[in-house]
Symmetry: D2
Subunit: 404 residues, 4 copies
């Protein structure tokens, strides 16, 4: 995690990021921000607090940065309540109980944000060591990750309300319309290629070190699989044919009775045959949009049904780095499942302190997603960026791109 | 369910009850009223809505009372969201999901209450048939039951917050101090006695019909078991001796690792050896208070440990009806587990309509509690009143009285 | 548990009972006797061992009866392996693991039976104190209970084999054919009646003490509900109408997707519309037989569907004791669910030793069944006999008789 | 799956393999072979039947090989009972129910084996097409895999018996004694290497195709981690330090309360501080033996505790192929967890028929193990062989080798 930033760029980025998080909360009531509909999501209020805790715990509480004790701990219990998963920090509230913490109130959390913001800005003004800059930038990128989670989690939380409430009625009108992409592939030759981050600017530790990978010749789809494509898969019995699925995937399909992507529903006439629920409520399915809210298992089964496969993350990175103009929808659309289990790059070393728990310990059983989504904070993703989720998870803005 | 009420007494009771419910909500934020910490409790906001739904569903929606359609349904989805368990009414939200319904907002629910209140009062003014009076009185008693549940549920919900927040700091200061009761028994002779309700005023259907029961001679404790008594049971290893317990009770003790009543905790010095959490937060244990938040299994094991037993509900009713001055703490203290499974009285007949689901279908696997608690609405309980819960449940204000 | 028996009658009863258990095992292979298909049943081999352990643990190990140590413990680990539920005896194998104990082998268990049989017979020959006679008679009745469980358990265990193997092809040909019973009721007047055992001969502690119960006038069906009757209930949608069911029963129906009694199946043409599996394999449904393998919840729902109810156990005992010739099918047919939760009679006292765990600690959440079944050992049941199971259980030979 | 075999070598291999399976069953009773102690293991009897079913289903039932119908299906229900996981074949008994199938009896299964053996040998004598040879050789290797599972499963099944019975008292005396291996590493340079099978003889489809992998310089331990090493890890608190574990691993440690490898136990004096249970019963721990019965999570945590890591499967294969004399314990000792998730090699293609389900569909969530164990059939493993299990599984003969 190297960083080389000016004081003013960091100040700006910090203010902008902190303020953007608040703007995401604007459409919600205190009750909306309290609910938690499953163990793996968090209430909106918790996201507001946890991202603040991160700055307090790793920077303000650090004697290196706070030798005079100019910032005193906002609240001892917050260390327990808003620690996500850092064993180094100590005991913490089980994730499944986050939705039960009605106190501290939203107002207290907003106050907490203000106090920590002021302290961080005061610290920046005192001068910016490399170590401090690195941690603030990490905190910013951390908060950007939670901005996307804020949206995926509130969508999931609200989706359990049979009224299918909208988060924001015009959420997608701010986003560019998706143009239909023709179903073509670009070809790449075999070779030994460099994968991983090698620049001076920020990256997460899991993007390091840059290393050599041998890639065989492959073809890479120019666009993402669409809702129209997916309807063909459904209508061809894709969800009912075990031969298309990994064994674990088929178990999941049967146990969960999946017959379509998450948030799709067979619907009333006004919406056409299928509707889809999203941040703007329940709407007709747009056939030319990339399919969304599919698990790795579904992506993998779809690819097998086509006689294709998912790209590896090395192929994705190599293809994306080529900047070939034919290849579209890499970023700001939907995350793209790859065929690659999320494991350490050769020579990977987590940092020695608590922040070392950030990524490394999750390297089991998950798959890498590449690209970024419409909900990803601007400037957050890059060609080496590695997102990761379990193969059965569907509540992220996930899609797929084919390879062969 | 017979009733004979004047228009003005019903109007007054309706207004007082509806208004008292709101006063219970006063100490809580919208987030407090949203949380639900287990499947068997409900969020405070849901109680506000459901008690209103009861009046709308069973009275205002009834063509008999609303032939001109003067009240139109407040919201079609509310029938789904706020139906508790009436199969006759139709599909409903699973109880475990009540805490996820952040919309309608608290404000909308308060508005719903006002609209229904006005309509009911308008209906009363049009004249009070027997059938209408019966249903309004039933609705009032129903809401009184939910007033107690409102308190037991919010206590349970808040108890999952490690900050142990208080519902209201002076909640118990309004209540009379409990005087220590000497550990004596009153004696009763054998006889054929009448059990059940036989007066003109309101009772629930499960108190009917009055019928004959033969009772053998018995002794009945003059007071409730205290916290001091319970500490003796703990210190004598009561929670670790399987021979004291029913087999199902012992399974529960082991699975749940019970070592003390619910809401007790071994505590820091300032609270003494044990503290107890309640509506006023975490406080030192008052040794002379009746023990509270114990399951039937614990009550039964305690009685066996003493060489005594729990009274049957017929014994309780007969003793309470005697109005012997020695017998204290019958009402307004803690509910008292009896040895009697909750079953129908001989000749019991639920009413034929949806309200017929009120009591009868729960007559399995539960035990009768008699008396009432400090949280029971004034005027709600009576000597024939039958409360009932499952033998493992502890979140009610439950205690015990011995017999032999 | 009083007993007054001659030496020769006890010797004969002991030999006959022990030998009958072996005859029940005759149709089975060692593998058949090893399997256990759910936590609540036991392997046949375990029944052979446990009934033997009972005699060794409560008689031979007792210094009162074995002062010279003439019998030494057959195997220390057997105390752990074959203790069913006696906390007084100590730790024991969890019931769910009984099916995993392939060693000791069947041959070793048969040897164990022989050794214990010889020792008990030797003890009897030395002279029969009242205490010893009581315990041997208790052991005999205990083994008779396990003879019925042996059959209900092996039926359940074999039923999980899709080949639907038979236990014994002509099992039922030895039993009397069931004559159709007309659908009539006998009437009884109100009165204070004596319930419970009062004779000199053996009974279980739960049949004591005899006590007075007031019974209101009632009608009692002369015969049991038949398969033909039950088909009417099914065809009228009985399993799909929540209003017929207790709330806990309806939850069970939905969770378990019950649509017919246990062991019934919609079947191929050769069997008619429904077939039923039993100890003689899969056979056509005999419409005039009493319905079998129904839970209390089903019995209760059926009675409600008819506009009738189940009799209480006091009503059953009073009616059966009347010996009215119209009343048929009381014994040796099917156990009959009553409306009575299984609780202690007033004044019930379990004995002070380990055998005191025999009955009392199970007095929660179960219902009393009266009568006996075709699988009940001859001479085992009587008019005061109280059998008991949980309301969802169906693997016993259970049926119902109506009352009103 | 290419194969080039002579008729006589196949005949010999077939007879030897089929007969070896029977010899594994020799120490067991019918009851031993019936038990199944968890969903993921199988009863011994089922292994005897399933390996036979494989030959009948994929060869004898195939019209290509059996055009005259010279072999008629032994039993239609066996197709259901003994199909393991082939969706192409159709419905099958859930794995968890295998232990309930007491019929067909052991004798019937042994008869089934004889009938199928005769038919296969008759088919071989009629002449050996390439397709037939391939399938018979696959069936032989399939049965060899089940020979190891037969031993790991019976060990797991018997381990649930508190008597800790032995499978065979002298099982390990036939095996070579393990010499202590010094704790040294061999070094390898970076390079583009060929991984995967490329010879004419048999391999599984998951070893194909051979392909290029770039490997960075690495060191490879000459021997396996020993019980003595593992004791150091335990005594240093390895099982109680979350920072050593993957997050999923730590969850498993806590949920399962692991404090040592499977089958270890803190023990009585006669066995020293720790004993270990294996096929020869409960024995003292041999400190110089490779540690056994550890999960991937434990192997990974141990490596992190040492400041080392697990080798990738490409590193393992490259080092093993080097045949450097320093590198020991590659085969016939314990399976060795690698750092590599079990995924398809680039260009992997499962065959088109039912046998195509053999490997490919399990490529999710598992890790590759390399080498072989003392229980692996002679001639079964090879340098390209890929074994695979889930990261929490411990009942296989699994160990680890370090890399850095």
């Amino acid at each position: 995690m190297q960083a080389k930033y000016t004081l003013s760029s960091i100040t700006q980025a910090f203010i902008a990021t902190r303020s953007h998080t608040l703007s995401l909360a604007a459409p919600l009531s205190e009750a909306d921000m309290q609910i938690q509909s499953d163990d793996f999501v968090s209430p909106s209020k918790w996201h507001l607090a946890h991202t603040t805790w991160f700055f307090e715990e790793f920077i303000l509480k650090n004697l290196e940065f706070n030798p005079t004790g100019f910032h005193s701990l906002f609240s001892e219990p917050y260390r327990f309540l808003f620690n996500s998963y850092y064993e180094t920090i100590g005991a913490r509230l089980p994730q499944k109980n986050r939705g039960l913490i009605s106190r501290p109130s939203l107002q207290e959390i907003l106050n907490y944000r203000q106090v920590v913001d002021k302290a961080i800005l005061a610290l920046i003004e005192q001068g910016l060591s490399d170590a401090l800059a690195s941690l603030i930038v990490l905190g910013i990128h951390h908060e950007q990750q939670h901005q996307e989670l804020f949206l995926t989690d509130i969508l999931f939380n609200l989706s359990h309300n049979p009224l299918k409430p909208e988060y924001q009625s015009h959420f997608f009108s701010k986003k560019t319309l998706v143009a239909p992409i023709k179903n073509s592939f670009s070809s790449f030759k075999a070779g030994l290629v460099s994968i991983g981050h090698a620049h001076d600017d920020f990256c997460f530790d899991n993007e390091l070190p840059q290393h050599q990978v041998f890639i065989a010749p492959f073809k890479f789809a120019d666009g993402l699989v669409t809702n129209a494509d997916w309807l063909n898969f459904i209508e061809d019995g894709g969800y009912n044919n075990p031969l298309l699925w990994l064994a674990d995937g088929w178990k999941t399909v049967q146990a969960s009775q999946w017959q379509m992507p998450l948030y799709w529903q067979k619907s009333a006439d006004s919406l056409g045959e299928y509707g889809r629920y999203s941040l703007d409520g329940l709407q007709p399915l747009n056939l030319s949009e990339p399919v969304c809210h599919i698990s790795f298992f579904e992506a993998d089964a779809y690819a097998r049904w086509c006689g294709k496969r998912l790209p590896t993350e090395a192929e994705w990175e190599f293809a994306a780095a080529s900047k070939m103009p034919e290849i579209l929808q890499l970023y700001s659309e939907r995350w793209q499942w790859t065929a690659s289990p999320y494991i350490a790059y050769p020579g990977f070393k987590p940092t020695a302190d608590a922040v070392g728990e950030y990524n490394g310990k999750f390297m089991n059983g998950q798959y890498v997603l590449r690209g970024s989504s419409f909900a990803t904070a601007e400037g957050h993703a890059r060609v080496t960026y590695r997102n990761f989720f379990y193969p059965h998870q569907r509540w992220q803005f996930t899609s797929l791109r084919l390879a062969e």
